[in-house]
């Protein structure tokens, strides 16, 4: 009898819970449809309707940022909001999409029509995709000059041009030229231990990796986080793109053109002799255990593995590697790292301004004030410092007007995409490694400008092919590159065959057509 009673009680509880959940579900459902049914149509909502153009009403601006939420978010944003409220009567509230799964969550935020005003975006973070799908508000010159006077003055015209999609502006790009080439971080102490030549080329790198793999037990000579589904990884970028002076149009399809080819002729990178040579190079490294046999299942943070002494090299962009280097010098001065540039003599591609930036969410009702906020984040010294570096004295020690020293609090306010506010006001880490500066300076001299720099591919007509080709890259190219397929010849033939079945030819024709039109219009 008692059993029956308690069972009924449990049952009742479940029912109540189900009702509550059901109610929650239905109400949030309603909110969603409402939001996604009524997005403004880009340019239609110009400041003409001027409803909230003034700053009389206090507004909360919601930001969507990529990266982990910094530990001291509350403290820093409280300070930031105090200043913002004084200047434009607005406060900001940020939502963070963790690095682990931002690629999945970011598009969903737009698809679900969630309520936010400013979104971080970049050419590597769905900028073209969302702009073409109508996720961002179109920004007219009038809006920009009226609500972003500082930025309008500071930003070079070419930066605006580079960030247009189909001739329309959807982004406030960052204002900080850099080179996007990748370099490799190596353990210089290990290199010296085995009397190896400095690592300056693919051959010297292979030599380093193989020596470390052969002699150091329990260390992966090279490591990558392949499990997160990147189809075109850093070593490909260095050894195929940079080495041969090619440019991949989009990292989710293997189509490239030569940098100095004025006609912009597109070819399949997997179908080149260069790629076959690279496969042999990779296979040699894999057979010598330069990386783990399970590299494609690796879920660890590679930099953390390197700090723990379990990995002896990894590839990334120069800025990140320099920060890693500075970090380790602070924390483990006994370990000696070096940044190795494997393609020092090749042409470099300048980051176009869309490398980082902020955009306005299309349905936002607070576009004007959001632009004012972005204006200050990028170009107001006080607010810029707060947003980029945190609270002076706690998270950084200002050195003059353009440098800073890291403090014990630095790690508590870092690691997310505040880079959209990069500008000439940026401070440099006073301990920024001199060698990284030297490499950067050398790269700047070799920057190569070409017509297709600002070309953007519109995949609307070939989305089936893009999805299928991406799948083939992941399934056939990645294991082949990491030397996991014993017979390279056969693996390569399979890859080409599968790409053809997936429709690479149609993709190539469409891309070539768009490139020809783009170049014809120049």
């Amino acid at each position: 009898m008692r059993n029956k009673k308690s069972f009924m009680l449990l049952f009742a509880l479940v029912l109540v819970l189900a009702t509550v959940l059901g109610a929650c579900g239905s109400s949030s459902n309603g909110g969603n449809t409402e939001a996604s049914d009524s997005p403004s149509n880009g340019a239609a909502e110009t400041p003409a309707d001027g409803g909230n153009a003034g700053t009389a009403e206090e507004l909360v601006i919601k930001m969507l940022l990529v990266g982990g939420k910094p530990i001291d978010y509350d403290a820093v944003f409280a300070e930031l909001n105090k200043t913002l409220k004084e200047k434009v009567n607005a406060t900001v509230e940020a939502e963070f999409l963790d690095w682990a799964d931002w690629t999945q969550k970011y598009p969903l935020k737009f698809a679900a029509g969630e309520d936010f005003d400013i979104a971080y975006t970049a050419n590597w973070a769905f900028y073209n995709d969302q702009a073409l799908k109508g996720g961002f508000l179109e920004l007219t010159d009038d809006m920009l000059s009226e609500y972003m006077p500082l930025t309008w003055k500071a930003m070079p015209k070419v930066a605006w041009e580079q960030s247009k999609v189909n001739g329309k502006q959807y982004m406030v790009p960052n204002n900080n030229p850099e080179v996007t080439d990748k370099a490799v971080l190596i353990r210089d102490d290990l290199r010296k231990k085995y009397n190896l030549d400095p690592v300056i080329s693919p051959e010297t790198f292979a030599n380093y990796a193989k020596t470390v793999a052969a002699n150091e037990k329990g260390i992966n000579a090279y490591n990558a986080k392949a499990a997160d589904g990147w189809k075109w990884h850093e070593l490909d970028q260095i050894l195929l793109e940079q080495q041969n002076e090619w440019n991949l149009v989009d990292y989710s399809m293997p189509l490239a053109y030569k940098l100095d080819d004025a006609a912009g002729k597109v070819f399949n990178v997997y179908d080149t002799p260069e790629f076959k040579q690279l496969l042999a190079y990779y296979k040699d490294l894999a057979d010598n255990n330069a990386w783990s046999k399970n590299v494609v299942s690796n879920k660890n943070d590679v930099w953390q593995d390197m700090k723990a002494g379990k990995t002896a090299s990894y590839a990334h962009n120069l800025g990140t590697l320099a920060m890693n280097l500075a970090e380790l010098r602070r924390e483990q001065p006994e370990v000696e790292l070096a940044i190795a540039d494997l393609t020092p003599d090749k042409k470099k591609i300048a980051a176009i301004s869309t490398q980082n930036g902020f955009a306005i969410h299309a349905p936002s009702k607070k576009a004007e004030r959001s632009l004012m906020v972005i204006d200050l984040l990028q170009n107001d010294k006080e607010i810029h410092d707060l947003f980029m570096y945190g609270v002076a004295g706690t998270h950084y020690e200002p050195v003059g007007d353009d440098k800073f020293n890291a403090t014990a609090g630095t790690p508590n306010y870092t690691g997310f995409s505040n880079w959209g506010a990069n500008s000439p006001l940026n401070r440099k880490d006073a301990s920024y490694p001199a060698e990284a500066d030297a490499i950067a300076a050398a790269w700047e001299e070799k920057v190569y400008h070409f017509d297709l720099e600002t070309f953007v591919f519109n995949d609307a007509n070939v989305k089936n092919e893009v999805a299928n080709v991406g799948n083939v890259m992941l399934r056939y190219a990645i294991p082949l590159e990491y030397g996991l397929i014993p017979d390279i010849e056969k693996g390569h033939a399979d890859l080409i065959k599968q790409l053809q079945a997936a429709g690479i030819d149609k993709l190539q024709q469409e891309l070539q057509k768009q490139i020809d039109e783009f170049l014809g219009g120049k």
């Binding site: 189900a18 996604s36 598009p107 029509g113 589904g229 299942s297 879920k299 999805a467």
Partner: protein, 306 residues
């Protein structure tokens, strides 16, 4: 016929109807209302138009799935894995339930039941990490043990043929406790007089199990199996994605419709294509359950779902 009429019936059964209401509400909100979203499978979605305003594009969204050449492979994988899961899991769950029922000692029973139940609460993300630490080539527990006793290490993450066994095993491990509770409940409901009579007639333990317990479990088994068959074309995404991830070498043996669609479409963010794949799964699942139910009806009318 009915003197009280509709509202009279409602009044008479109000308690029962009230108890039914949450479930009806749940399915209304989460299953029937969103069903309108099926139109997305036939549309070129854009934010401006939203779900209903976007332009139609016929069967274009289905091209991706069928032209990829993978449709057959992933559909087959999904169905075969689910059939294996249904058979293996149910057999093990029934066995566990019978063992628990026959076990003497309240403490032993409670403790073993708790231990069997535990894996059910572990998230697939964690299970994936545990599996990686067990199976990886360089420092995995399994290979460290194998090399310690002088055997060759096995390269599990690069060998597709191991995976059907691993996945079936992991699924059985994870669902054993949860499933056996349902069968245990059914066993507890069997009339004890039958057992007493059997004992008097001199039936031994095995005869009791095979002649009384198992035949009495058929209705439960059939209902659970029918419910599972309706989902036979839906891969357990959490399981497959966290166990296998983006390891291309294993896809031939482990790719199910859900992971295939997820991988192809999250980064390209084409809602129409995903909706088309979901629609395909639903149609297949609907057809299968109608067939299965029809087969059960032919065999025994009382056991069919509808």
């Amino acid at each position: 016929m009915n003197r009280r009429g509709f509202w009279g019936d409602v009044r008479k059964y109000r308690t029962l109807l009230l108890m039914l209401a949450p479930a009806v509400l749940f399915f209304l909100v989460f299953a029937y209302v969103p069903m309108a979203g099926i139109v997305l499978a036939f549309k070129q979605y854009n934010y401006g138009g939203g779900i209903f305003g976007s332009p139609w594009n016929g069967l274009d969204n289905f091209r991706f799935f069928f032209e990829s050449g993978n449709a057959w492979m992933v559909t087959r994988n999904t169905a075969l894995y689910n059939i294996a899961f249904i058979i293996v899991n149910n057999v093990l769950q029934i066995a566990a339930a019978i063992l628990l029922f026959e076990a003497v000692g309240k403490w032993f029973r409670k403790i073993s039941q708790t231990f069997m139940f535990l894996p059910y609460f572990i998230s697939w993300v964690v299970v994936g990490a545990i599996a990686y630490n067990l199976f990886n080539y360089d420092v995995g527990t399994l290979n460290v043990m194998l090399t310690a006793i002088g055997l060759e290490p096995v390269d599990i993450y690069n060998t597709p043929s191991y995976w059907p066994f691993i996945l079936v095993l992991v699924s059985a491990w994870k669902t054993l406790g949860y499933g056996s509770v349902m069968y245990l409940a059914a066993i507890t409901g069997i009339d004890t007089e039958m057992y007493e009579a059997a004992e008097i007639d001199g039936a031994n333990v095995f005869q009791r199990i095979f002649r009384i317990t198992i035949p009495n479990l058929y209705p439960t088994l059939i209902i659970l199996a029918l419910l599972a068959i309706g989902n036979i074309f839906r891969g357990d995404f959490g399981m497959f994605y966290n166990m296998v991830g983006n390891n291309g070498l294993l896809f031939s043996a482990t790719d199910v419709i859900d992971t295939f669609v997820f991988r192809s479409l999250t980064t390209s963010n084409e809602i129409g294509l995903s909706a088309a794949a979901g629609f395909y799964q639903s149609v297949l699942g609907f057809a299968t359950i109608l067939l299965a139910n029809y087969a059960v009806r032919k065999y025994d009318k009382d056991h069919a779902l509808f």
